[in-house]
Amino acid sequence: MTKRFDRRSLLRGTLAGGAVTMGLPLLDCFLNDNGTALAQGAPLPQRFGAWMWGCGTNPDRWNPSVAGENWELTPELVALGRELPGGGLARDQVSVLSGFDVSLGGRPNFPHTGGLVSTTTGTVPLEDGVYVEPTLDSIIAQEIGKTTRFRSLEMSATGNPNQFYSYEARGVPNAPEVSPAALYTRVFGPDFADPNAGPFVPDPRLMLRQSVLSVVKEDRERLARELGAHDRQRLDQYFTSVRQLEQQIDVLLAGPPDLESCAKAPEPGAEDVGSEVSQSRLTNKLMAEILSFALACDQTRVFSMMFSYRLSGLRQAGSNSEHHQLTHDEAIDAQLGYQPEATQFVFDSMDAWVDFLEPLSAIPEGDGTLLDNCLVYAHSDVSFAKVHGVVGIPQMIAGSAGGAIKPGIHVPGNASETTRVGLTIQQVMGLPVERWGTLSMEAGLPVNEILV
């Protein structure tokens, strides 16, 4: 607590005292959601992330058959046999949730969006590609993202800035970062207070930026009177974003993060943004690396990564067909029993998933690794893409959320709703919800098998 008052005096001095008439905002960054200090010895922050890949798997080759801890590495899960830098195999940090369904309840199965929107928002869409509810990551960010510099970080390895995974509200996407260099600059650029860069001197412009935002807020009520209900929601969201930006400036004013594992990320290597599979894998890796440092410095607690779009545009160099196209067009090889070219992208996607976990596992935190204090949820939009299957959507959870969940378990869903997983995640992240989803996708039973 003493530290906060020290910083306040420092700011007053820097800003020439009375010249700045506005009140110094509460330095929320030192507080957690319960208002208690986040000092050394306090619990480490818990983070939630979502990671998606498009166009599913071959369920018979992906789903393990053995439930519980002793599940087998199936042909399409071999990537999980890799060793993680923090020790142990990926499979020991990942739970596999197979056989959870999207039940459409009589609504149409819009190809590639029916399963995805239902799973991530809990509501089966009525219009193709239209999100009427926020996605899981936004629901969680709206609760646990209020005290960090970035409420959440959205990333995409598809190379296309106009494809969205995370939705904030009805029809409003959270646009992703598509360039690792841009992500790096945003988090670790000039605004970042480096804990190892000597004495901290806050930039006086930060407080002036606060005053700019407070002027903007004055027009809220007048504007709201001029709008209909839908537009008022959009305006409210704008002002929620203003509050978040004020929070971001509060965090910057408070100085460097006070976390043992925090260090400025090294600059990312050369990027090559695009949707050839080698490009997407590189982007995914570079961003995961930056993200791991951002999480260790508590710059955010919520993130999402779209490795490939629901209509996966992944492509092998020299090929005339994209992943999505191949899942529909390529014949099933009679001897192999699957589509060999399309299936290569399933292997690539699973490799990319482990690539994403590696940097999280590489950073020590507390008695374990950063990954131990994360819950990372991976899933696809369909089960078997060729027929747009929404029965048995592949899902996985990595990390142990600070000991709240057991990793390394295979849970067969037995045709229960995919939203059970989203419900479980919300509960683990501290949201007071008993049920999640609407109509045919409403779930009330958490996945108890992975709860500690």
């Binding site: 996407p173 005339n320 994209e322």
Partner: protein
């Protein structure tokens, strides 16, 4: 075939359904008199990235480099313009707007340009000067907010300028922060379309004069209203039809109207994909294709459209015109000589070349292809949906395309492979709508380069569009040009673009009437814009849009 909105009605008329009323309640001649219209709702419209950049440069100076890092717009109903009435500002979105505002304000008030922009001298450059700040912020704020600012709005920003100037010891740096507060305000980022009861007829709700000015300016110039337009908006005279008509003419006659045509067609044709570098081809299969060619091909098409429409030519002839503009890089694609070393020169494709109209351009052919091959289906879908406003249903969820792409088998051309669809009842319904159009353009590969064969087999480019048969891209373009939906569809798209939403049912008669006017004018796009702006579809509304909760609705049968 599903047909959208009022075109369903039109199709019935085309099919010869006699005696169908076009809704003219006074029994007058439906061609000459505008039908009464109950216009749809207005909505908050977030500036598109293009409008944001254009508005900033217009008000603060052409020298400003507007940061590209703001949130992308989302397409709805085939237009970014419609998506803008749903777009919000997320936390990361506002972060980008705030960063952009700081970068813009710094450039606007740099040492070289501050004098011209501010137009008053502070008493001291090292401290605040409220009088000078006030006059600057009031004048610039009016252009950015597209209306006069209230005293309170100005004074709040004068206070920011003052505090910041004194803290930082610089008048201009103080002004930068005050300017930033205008640029991140919802009044700038969103176009707020306001309405009020018409004093002459209180049952009629009209747009306010300043809202009309914004609609007009963003429609024709795709930027914020200029001072002359704001003057007649602020004093209310713009709501007088004669004044409005004069302003429409002034805007249309300005060379800046070209920017508006560019914006409309970029949106309608989804050319943002070129700007975002998303039109890519496989490097091994198409080694000659470069991003320069991609960007130049987009520019070729837009220049062709602007030149054609600005000259008052028939909209439909865009699909048969051989007049165009080429760069040297494009000369290689079309295999014609181009003299100009840098930039574009006018060119007329020779009649023996199969390049007739926009559908013969590399831009549309490469955009509606995959990275590794052409797509008759995507090209057909584009013609149906974008040019003819006919909805192609989404594919059934349970489909098997496996034979279509089996290039190893004896099915060597796209036609052979696609014909398999047509022999399958599940696929035939939709593919019969798309493929016969696209197959006529199979002579253009995935980059728009002409070819005679695919996998060693001569391409058969025959096809049929709603009863008209053709062979090859030139005849197919002629069929598109003569299709009865082509003109009415453009009217529908332009109306949707103007109001930011699909026409509601009570506006269909108006849109249909505008279609007739368009035809009477010889499909002159400027006349169409005049007719739209002077209609009650533009000037009146049912009021602000209300929320609709679709999450709990039951599925449609």
């Amino acid at each position: 075939m599903q047909v959208r909105g009022y075109l369903a009605l039109l199709t019935a008329v085309v099919a010869g359904v006699a005696g169908l009323s076009l809704g003219c309640s006074d029994g007058g001649d439906p061609v000459s008199a505008a039908p009464p219209v109950e216009a749809g709702p207005v909505a908050l419209r977030r500036l598109t990235a293009e409008q944001y950049a254009a508005s900033v440069q217009d008000v603060l100076g052409d020298h400003i480099t507007v940061p590209g890092r703001i949130d992308p717009d989302e397409r709805r109903e085939g237009l970014l313009s419609v998506g803008s009435t749903f777009a919000g500002v997320t936390p990361s979105g506002l972060e980008k707007y705030e960063a952009a505002a700081a970068v813009i304000a710094e450039q606007a008030l740099d040492a070289e340009h501050r004098r011209d922009l501010v137009r008053c001298e502070p008493a001291s450059e090292g401290a605040s000067d409220d009088a000078c700040a006030r006059s600057f912020l009031g004048r610039i704020g009016r252009r950015l907010f597209r209306r006069d600012l209230s005293d309170q709005e100005v004074e709040a920003r004068v206070a920011v300028a003052s505090m910041a100037a004194n803290t930082l010891g610089s008048f201009y740096q103080g002004l930068e922060l005050a300017l930033s507060s205008l640029l991140v305000s919802p009044d700038f980022l969103f176009r707020v379309e306001r309405s009020e009861p018409d004093p002459d007829d209180p049952s009629r709700i009209r747009l306010t004069a300043t809202s009309v000015a914004s609609r007009l300016s963003y429609l024709i110039w795709n930027t914020t209203p200029d001072d002359e337009l704001l003057d007649v908006a602020v004093d209310g005279s713009l709501l007088d039809r004669a004044v409005l008509a004069a302003q429409v003419d002034r805007l249309l006659e300005s060379t800046r109207a070209e920017v508006g045509i560019r914006a409309l067609f970029s949106d309608m044709l989804d050319f943002r994909q070129f700007d975002d570098g998303l039109v890519n081809k496989d490097a091994a299969l198409f080694p000659a294709f470069t991003q320069t060619i991609a960007r130049d091909s987009k520019e070729q098409t837009l220049r062709t459209v602007i030149d054609h429409l600005s000259a008052g030519r028939d909209y439909r002839d865009l699909f048969t015109t051989r007049r165009t503009f080429l760069s040297r890089e494009l000369g290689q694609v079309y295999r014609v000589p181009v003299v100009t070393q840098f930039g574009f020169e006018p060119h007329v494709f020779e009649s023996e070349l199969p390049r007739s109209g926009l559908l013969g351009h590399a831009s549309l052919m490469s955009l509606h292809s995959h990275a590794g091959r052409s797509s008759a289906t995507l090209r057909g879908k584009f013609v149906r949906e974008v040019l003819l406003c006919q909805d192609v249903p989404t594919p059934p969820a349970d489909i098997d395309f496996s034979i279509v792409e089996d290039t190893e088998s004896e099915l060597r051309t796209a036609r052979d492979r696609l014909e398999v669809h047509v022999s399958n009842d599940n696929c035939a319904g939709c593919h019969n709508l798309m493929d016969p159009i696209g197959l006529a353009f199979e002579n253009f590969d995935a980059t728009g380069v002409y070819r005679e064969t695919e996998n060693g087999v001569t391409i058969d480019a025959t096809g049929e569009l709603d009863g008209v048969s053709y062979d090859g891209p030139v005849e197919a373009s002629e069929a598109v040009r003569n299709h009865p939906n082509l003109g009415p569809c453009f009217v529908q798209t332009l109306f949707r673009y103007t109001v930011g939403r699909e026409a509601v049912e009570s506006e269909w008669d108006l849109v249909s009437y505008l279609g007739e006017q368009f035809e009477e004018s010889g499909f002159n796009s400027s006349d169409l814009i005049r007719a739209i702006v002077l209609s009650d579809g533009f000037l009146t509304t049912s009021g602000p849009r209300e929320a609709q909760d679709v999450s709990s609705e039951e599925a449609q049968p």
